[in-house]
Symmetry: C2
Subunit: 254 residues, 2 copies
């Protein structure tokens, strides 16, 4: 059902287009909006997970957007001259290149804050707790990456896997799935995060592609995708859309 993933992506776009930030962030609005591009892989995963367990998509959108805002925050800060020094992002000037370093630092902070604000629109703190834990792991992973010398698998689990996991787990929490049913979902989430990263490395020619060769990395991606599909068999839900997302992630070319 690739159509449904397209529909979910459109829902994310509409949600962001209509999303009002905290009013006092008005001076950062332009820089924050510039940071919000992307393929929406994480929020679509969040929505597809929540729908798989029967939740209404409207209920899930704040959680999905929150995950994407954390992703955006991390890119804005990672692109800074002191970190990756990337002046371009998605074929356009990165936030610091367009708006200056100071504004990029504050815009990143504000995106993280808005992520938490959206995660806190739920009656319980569960979505926000899951999201913040993943954020902290991601930040710790980024620092390990700066320091160097860290094992690739561990690094990716922190830098990429944690937030992918949160995409799925926040969808469950937002849908009200009790923790007793989370175990197979967490295992699925870990495989999806790894899958995304391995394919990313194949496309970029670094990471796993560098460590085990492009063919090795492609084979690894196939194995991980198979494990992800197997995990989906273990969960209680209508997982057809999620399966199509796994299939797409395994063969994506951008």
């Amino acid at each position: 059902m690739p159509q449904r993933t397209d529909e979910l992506r459109e829902l994310v776009e509409s949600y962001f287009a209509e999303l009002a930030f905290t009013p006092e962030l008005e001076p950062l609005e332009a820089s924050m909006r510039d940071a919000l591009g992307g393929k929406r892989v994480r929020p679509v995963l969040c929505l597809a997970t929540g729908e798989a367990v029967g939740a209404d998509v409207e209920t899930l959108l704040p959680a999905a957007a929150a995950v994407e805002l954390v992703h955006s925050f991390s890119l804005v800060h990672d692109d800074l001259p002191a970190l990756d020094d990337d002046a371009e992002r998605r074929g356009a000037p990165s936030v610091w290149a367009a708006h200056g370093e100071a504004t990029a630092i504050l815009a990143g902070d504000a995106l993280l804050g808005e992520a938490v604000r959206l995660a806190l629109t739920y009656p319980t703190p569960d979505v926000a707790r899951e999201l913040v834990l993943a954020t902290q792991r991601m930040i710790g992973g980024q620092q390990l990456d700066l320091q160097g010398g860290i094992e690739l698998e561990r690094l990716h689990a922190l830098k990429t896997g944690a937030l992918f996991g949160a995409s799925i787990m926040c969808g469950l929490w937002a849908a009200g799935v009790p923790p007793a049913e989370h175990r197979p979902w967490r295992a699925f989430a870990a495989e999806v995060g790894l899958l995304f990263q391995v394919v990313d490395d194949v496309l970029d020619g670094d990471g796993y592609a560098e460590a085990i060769g492009e063919d090795g990395a492609r084979k690894l991606a196939g194995d991980v995708a198979a494990r992800a599909r197997a995990q989906l068999e273990e969960v209680d839900g209508e997982t057809e859309v999620l399966r199509s997302i796994v299939d797409d992630l395994a063969v994506r070319t951008a």
Copy 2:
């Protein structure tokens, strides 16, 4: 009762000394710890507020620490070369000067994340919501300050007042005080934030001291302290310690 404020400050210090960060932040531990110094004005206010309405101090400590962590986060990012370019903080190298810009950016992010994590240890999202709203206002204020041309009172309300207000309001939420009783507390919080900033400006010779002269600013501080004391009369609680904090803030010399 200045003794009680000293005891509360000690409790905050012990809490931070024993506080375990998210384990994956271990590579940022040293830089985050370096950021944690300070006078503890905000957490003491939070504890004194919660105690004034009858809460146990142990219940209040995560909220108090959360507010202080947001303050620390903001200082770490504000000190960065792209913002205030301060290589010193409290007589020691600032976090970026000691640990490098990249680590300081990530340490600031992680401090904000830990703040939210602590605020999320409560059963309801109220403390976290209050804290995040104040954080967003503070960040917006910082951006307005960068851009310049903004009225002093508005700027201080955002940059300083919002988090002072949150110190008090998070104490109330952590103590379980229902929103119907918040109004006079919010008015008190606004005066305390202004009081702190006006005295700060007198001590630094800028802001209000520059705008209306040192004598004018001192007089303003006296007026604001009087209004704060008057507001305390309106709240329902044992406000002796809070009154002593107001008295101290009005005459502080550091």
